[in-house]
Amino acid sequence: MSKVSLSRKACTVNPLKLSQPVGGALAFLGLADCMPLLHGSQGCTAFGLVLFVRHFRETIPLQTTAMNEVATVLGGVENIGKAILTIHQKTKPRIIGICSTGVTETKGDDVDGYLRTFMAEHPELGDLAVVYVSTPDFKDAFQDGWSKAVRNIIQAVAEPSVEPILGLVNFLVGSHLTVADIEELREMSESFGLIPTFLPDLSGSLDGHIPDDFSPTTLGGTPLDAIRHLGSAELTIALGEQMRPAAEALMLKTGQPYVLFDRLTGLEPNDQLLDCFSQLSGQPVPNKYRRQRSQLLDAMLDGHFFIGGQKIAIGAEPDLLWNLSMWLSELGAEITAAITTTHSPLLEQVPCNEVIIGDLEDLETRAHGCDLLMTTAHGRQAAERLGIPLLRMGLPIFDRLGATHRLSVGYRGTRDLLFEVGNLLMANAHEGHPQRWPLPGESHAHSTVIPG
């Protein structure tokens, strides 16, 4: 359906893409008692830290191997060992998640080999789990880093399964879902009597709550033991195409089947999800969701007047772009520009003539004449210049409160997002005025009334 092309420019202007290692680090931030560690210069960590602090408005545990010039040039793989010992001693996490960066990948140390030797030489580290993921900045994007980190967590930690336990279900959560989305999915699955495990689970760590005491590591998230026992679930549900590698890795390790939902905003995907819960649990769909479904249908009736035919420009990572563009086109909107950050098998099916792996300058030049811009907070300058509203979606959203409590899955999430989009368009509707409908030049000339 769509042509996928790379932006041909030499200079990226107003980047949409975030780097791969910070995507990996955020996945690690969804694990309990975890300390993510970037193997790079201290700046790599500082920038990632500020990015997340501004988006989540929370303390972010994130460390660095603090590679200086000498260590970088001569090889500083020992800095990883030093960092592990220091972190173990100072903050006592149960898991350390390490992401490489451009600085350390340019030389290309054998980190896996080093870690095997190092861990064998340090029995005092006990059952500290260390997961390494290769995430050079000069390749791929945020979503890829997240995807690879979750895959590696499973490969490193999950244990081959025994007998599945009835009612247990795993959700492998893509980076495009928020804390509110996870909470909604938990509530939905639990109302069928299912017992869900989320990996990663930002709703435990970055939901913005007040802990009873100070913690130098993550404040919650998927517990290490829960990752070990992922294999005992009846089914794994992967959320987002980016989670396919992780689901495959889990299947390979535990023989567990998986289903993949590539999006959860909209009527039909949620019908399928609830049907899946119903079949898995043998329970009927609760009345609460039948009612919510009906509310969504009504919202579609009320809202389609304002959304149908509207032109929307979206800049988002592939899974979020897929989710938003499919849903909006199902409501009759026209996706006139679609910009993304990295490759994905879904891009060719995005309902837009062209999908460009590019930047926000590409989005801005293609968004002239659009009615609505949907991208991260970084779209604010473009929206201002274009004079159209901006609906902030994705990460970072640093100039609004509650970025991660924005819900867009389930019937309820879809309904509320529909209202939000509809309201922005309604508020910005093009009203009639005396000069809005001029006649074309030729007929105009013949219609002049001569006074007198």
Partner: protein, 463 residues
């Protein structure tokens, strides 16, 4: 060579911290050896960009992989009265191909695209770790591009791994000294032309000072670098005097401009009422010494009298509300004492202040101001800070964003006094604003609600 530049910076004679060191210590340089797994803070590139990005009409192009610009662009609070180009993120977004084949051609093409599309008066090109490792020579590319396009293309050679943010500030200063300052002539000069060095116009703080200077007829020939335009920095060598703010971040610019262009400078601050007055006096004095008519001194005194009285009058209403309130002040180095004096001016008690980046002289001054019980905090762990706040040893914490949530999660009021702050705190206006913000944080009705347990918890405790 970059290494020579760094050594030169470490030998900075204008830095009094440096002057107290032995030759051997000085050779080791100023960078603290970072401990892997326990380090915090930005890199040299970060520092260079903080120092120069406030120049508003320049295109700031970051040569490196996406992390260096993609993760952090448009996130500073420097305000502009004109061009918004400094808020556009430009990067070469290096790929694996660049890493293998070198990124110089990619960089050159990027500069060309920027000039074709945006036509800025200059392009600043920032080096980062990956291209530095593979040997991309940004100086050569900038030179070639400048020749080809007939525009200043300025290399900023401060890749992240060479050191700290502070080192990056100074390397940025060196780039201005080498390539920008003194390259253009102003249309006219006056005996009242000054430079303000190390002021970034965060939240528009420069505009709290400028009306005072305007009133005295003093012209800011160039601010380095808040709300600056390229040509202003290029013409700054014609100023008669300079003020250096923000501790030692740009001392190399101030000192070398004194050396090269005989522009005398003083170190001052616009935080706090008395410091603001002192700074105005010092500016007037330097200008008069350089030949400005000496009625400037009296006019300055008149302005100080009026403005101090106006500020005190506006602060009076807060004095009774803030008297005896205890402040924990966690901020970088030298800024501490000027804020301490400001808070004491309204009767607040500073129960602790960080001295991590302060010199011996600074510490002596804090002792003088706060007495012997002064709680000088060298390096407080987040856990200790949390405990101190939880145990209610302070009524409010003022710090940078890094420790924001430590205070908030301990249910203690907090105010941002670092670079991400949303309010402007400079000069007399700024001091009134700071006190107003402290008052509004302390007396916000949320605190009593937050500290009250939920009814069921209260009942359980009672049982």
């Amino acid at each position: 060579m970059l290494q020579d530049k760094i050594l030169e910076i470490f030998n900075e004679p204008g830095c009094d911290k440096n002057q107290t060191k032995s030759d051997k210590e000085r050779k080791k340089g100023c960078s603290v050896q970072l401990q892997p797994g326990a380090a915090a803070g930005g890199c040299a590139f970060d520092g260079a960009k903080i120092a120069l990005q406030p120049i508003t009409d320049v295109a700031h192009l970051i040569h490196g992989p996406i992390a260096c610009e993609g993760n952090s662009w448009d996130n500073r609070g420097s305000k502009s009265s004109g061009s918004k180009l400094y808020r556009t993120g430009f990067t070469t977004d290096m790929t694996e191909l660049d890493v293998v084949y070198g990124g110089e051609k990619h960089l050159f093409k990027s500069i060309k695209e920027i000039i074709d599309k945006y036509n800025p008066p200059a392009v600043f090109v920032y080096q980062t770790c990956v291209p530095a490792m593979i040997g991309d020579d940004i100086e050569a590319v900038c030179k070639a591009a400048a020749l080809k396009f007939g525009k200043p293309i300025i290399p900023i050679n401060a890749p992240g791994f060479v050191g700290s943010k502070n080192l990056g500030n100074k390397l940025a200063g060196e780039a201005l000294l080498d390539y920008v300052i003194g390259t253009q002539e102003p249309e006219f000069t006056t005996p009242y032309d000054i430079n303000i060095i190390g002021e970034y116009n965060l939240s528009g703080e420069l505009w709290q000072i400028k009306p005072l200077l305007d009133h005295l007829g003093i012209r800011i020939l160039s601010c380095i670098s808040g709300d600056a335009k390229y040509h202003e920095v290029a013409q700054s060598h014609r100023a008669r005097a300079a003020m250096m703010v923000c501790s030692k971040a740009m001392i190399n610019i101030a000192r070398k401009m004194e050396e090269r262009y005989e522009i005398p400078f003083f170190e001052g601050s616009f935080y706090g009422i008395s410091d603001s007055s002192e700074s105005l006096r010092a500016i007037a004095r330097l200008l008069v010494e350089r030949g400005a008519p000496d009625d400037l001194l009296a006019r300055t005194e008149n302005l100080i009298v009026t403005e101090e009285a106006r500020a005190w009058h506006r602060l009076a209403e807060y004095k009774t509300r803030l008297r005896g309130k205890r402040v924990l002040l966690i901020t970088g180095g030298v800024k501490s004492w000027s804020v301490v004096s400001a808070l004491q001016e309204v009767g607040m008690e500073v129960v602790g202040t960080s001295v991590k980046k302060s010199t011996q002289e600074d510490k002596a001054r804090i002792k003088e101001m706060m007495g012997d019980d002064a709680h000088m905090i060298d390096d407080m762990t987040p856990r200790e800070m949390y405990k101190m706040l939880r145990d209610a040893e302070a009524d409010i914490m003022l710090s940078g964003g890094r420790s924001q949530f430590i205070a908030l999660k301990a249910n203690v009021p907090w105010l941002d006094i670092n670079q991400e702050r949303h309010h402007a705190y400079a000069g007399y206006e700024g001091m009134v604003e700071l006190v107003k913000q402290i008052d509004s944080a302390l007396y916000n009705p949320i605190w009593s609600q937050l500290r009250k347990p939920a009814p069921w918890d209260a009942r359980e405790v009672a049982l």
